[in-house]
Point group: C2
Chain length 132, copies 2
């Protein structure tokens, strides 16, 4: 498939060449995670239909699910008004987006007094998937 | 209400003192927008129950809805696994989060060929709300 020029022209990458990218479960609407893409990983995402991020901590291409098998299949994608955030609706294979084994990375609820309460669903044990 | 210390300790603010913050409609699950908060605007958000961002373009506190009336009332809040993204479930007053008058900032759908298609609902005319 050819390079998607309209989108690449419209995306406002930051000084590090990154764009913030939200992954949302296309079925439930749950927000699963937020990470970053480069122009190259965005192109690969659209070409392959699987989410490919840029890991800022590892400074490397991050093909989501490559180790765990929990890939994210693109169902739809949207760009925000000023072009600096992407929102992908995805099918989360394996039912867990988070490296901690939770369904969503947002498994800590903030109470009104600022305390944090665990309220996420744990789908897998990360030690078993990634090794202890 | 006292300062929410647990949360402020857990949030990983970036080098500019900002944390990425997603606002999601608490009722429909639609992702409305993504913007940034400082520690101060996060505190004000929790204390007032209304979303208060930091505008990077204006370098100023941004009390969402102060001009348009379209405030966002906090219903719930979550912090992600590594503490650098907040997700707020909100009630969007006026039914439009975007300054363009759209319900969501993500009103441009990306096609598989990379072209962008308008598919959002326009709720108000920004010229009438903010002045031409």
């Amino acid at each position: 498939m050819p390079v998607p020029n309209d989108l690449l022209d419209a995306v406002q990458f930051d000084d590090d060449g990154l764009v913030a990218t939200i992954a949302q479960d296309h079925d439930t609407g749950d927000v699963l995670m937020m990470a970053y893409m480069t122009a190259e990983t965005l192109k690969e995402t659209l070409e392959t239909g699987r989410m490919v991020y840029w890991s800022r901590s590892r400074q490397a291409v991050w093909r989501k699910g490559e180790t765990s098998g929990n890939v994210q299949r693109v169902q739809a994608a949207h760009l925000d008004c000023d072009g600096d955030v992407l929102l992908f609706q995805v099918e989360q294979v394996g039912d867990a987006a988070c490296h901690t084994g939770h369904r969503s990375c947002f498994y800590r609820r903030v109470e009104r007094d600022g305390s944090l309460v665990h309220d996420g669903t744990k789908v897998f044990d990360p030690d078993e998937v990634y090794g202890a």
